[in-house]
């Protein structure tokens, strides 16, 4: 369990706490106003200047002496902000965590507040110019996105039932898209995405610049050496380069520090050699999210 579970998990994982999905919580956080402003300005988030700096050439800025450290400290503070005066246009308090398909199904089946919609992924649009309907949003966010035509799919039903949401997340996950759940703003939960790395704006900031916009999942992969047939199918599925086929060993090996615990590689294994285990059960990964 990470620090967000301690704070908002009521004794369990933060995203399994029903309270974080409720309308009452959303109202108390003025979520509708926040989400409207955030989503209207979505593609501008990296362009806008924040305290004199935009994200343009962030890689260089973060390396600068003193300023780089200050920028990083400030960015982390904004990403995880739960203060009253957080700013929606810069996504203050908006961050998430990777989850395996099993957890995504529990959320969509039991916890997500209706209405549920599935709209074009804003990150893939913003970073690749691709419109793909694979973001499942719910609760007060649905009504906000519905009003923005650029995110609403043409010729495809976007208002979906719980059962349809479960079917769709399963389809995306099996295609190789990573499931993730999001605070928007913390601790209100209203989205389950199907991400690619680095096309996801959050994964981009985490994997390329080390900012904690997305946390690794509560799990990590474990290879069963007796079952692994060294076919290497799983290696192509991992978007984080965590798996490697070692021909002389006749099996796949894992780099645990690179594994985000998304569980996607399992879909490719025909020999039942991969399973996800709690992150905390692997000594070297304890507390590393």
């Amino acid at each position: 369990m990470c620090q967000w579970c301690m704070k908002h998990g009521a004794g369990g994982k933060w995203y399994m706490n029903a309270k974080n999905y409720s309308n009452e919580l959303a109202d108390s956080l003025l979520a509708r106003e926040y989400l409207t402003e955030q989503w209207r300005n979505f593609e501008n988030i990296y362009i806008r200047k924040i305290m004199g700096f935009s994200s343009i050439d962030l890689g260089y800025k973060l390396q600068m002496p003193i300023i780089g450290k200050l920028l990083k400290w400030n960015a982390e503070k904004m990403i995880h902000s739960d203060s009253k005066n957080r700013k929606a246009v810069r996504g203050d308090g908006h961050f998430g965590q990777v989850i395996p398909l099993e957890d995504a199904k529990v959320i969509l089946g039991n916890l997500a507040a209706e209405p549920i919609i599935e709209n074009y992924c804003m990150c893939r649009w913003m970073q690749r110019g691709i419109k793909e309907c694979c973001c499942i949003n719910f609760g007060q966010l649905s009504g906000v996105i519905e009003k923005l035509p650029r995110f609403i799919p043409q010729n495809l039903q976007y208002k979906i039932s719980r059962e349809e949401a479960i079917e769709r997340i399963e389809k995306h996950n099996k295609r190789g898209y990573i499931a993730s759940v999001w605070f928007q703003p913390v601790p209100y939960i209203n989205a389950i995405c199907s991400c690619e790395n680095p096309e996801c704006g959050g994964m981009r900031l985490r994997s390329d610049f080390g900012l904690h916009t997305v946390y690794k999942s509560e799990y990590a992969i474990k290879v069963n050496p007796d079952k692994c047939q060294a076919c290497g199918m799983c290696v192509q599925k991992c978007q984080f380069g965590s798996l490697k086929l070692v021909p002389s060993l006749k099996r796949v090996i894992v780099d645990p520090m690179k594994c985000w615990g998304c569980g996607i590689c399992r879909h490719a294994c025909k020999h039942d050699a991969l399973e996800i285990v709690p992150r905390e059960s692997i000594p070297g990964l304890r507390g590393i999210y």
Partner: protein
């Protein structure tokens, strides 16, 4: 010591952008050609337009430190709007 400068990737907005010949939303070829995905399509900041359905868009090279100087974006751009340079 100052860090190594990132490559400079610029788009000529007179060719592609809110006042250009091409609306980048209809093309996005550079965004798809770039392996490290360094481009972002966005509304120009500070320009008043319909907040629900903005019509003016441009592309900015944002993650330039990740540019690997392959020049695929330059090759693929039908408007010859992109230039990449480094020192």
């Amino acid at each position: 010591m100052f860090p190594k400068k990132s490559p400079k990737v610029t788009i000529d907005y007179a060719k592609c952008g809110e006042h250009g010949k091409v609306d980048p939303r209809d093309c996005t070829k550079c965004m798809k050609a770039c392996d490290p995905a360094i481009f972002i399509i966005h509304e120009p900041v500070g320009v008043e337009q319909d907040p629900i359905d903005p019509k003016q868009w441009r592309i900015t090279a944002v993650w330039t430190s990740l540019c690997n100087k392959c020049l695929k974006c330059v090759e693929v751009c039908p408007e010859k709007a992109i230039s990449v340079s480094w020192s």
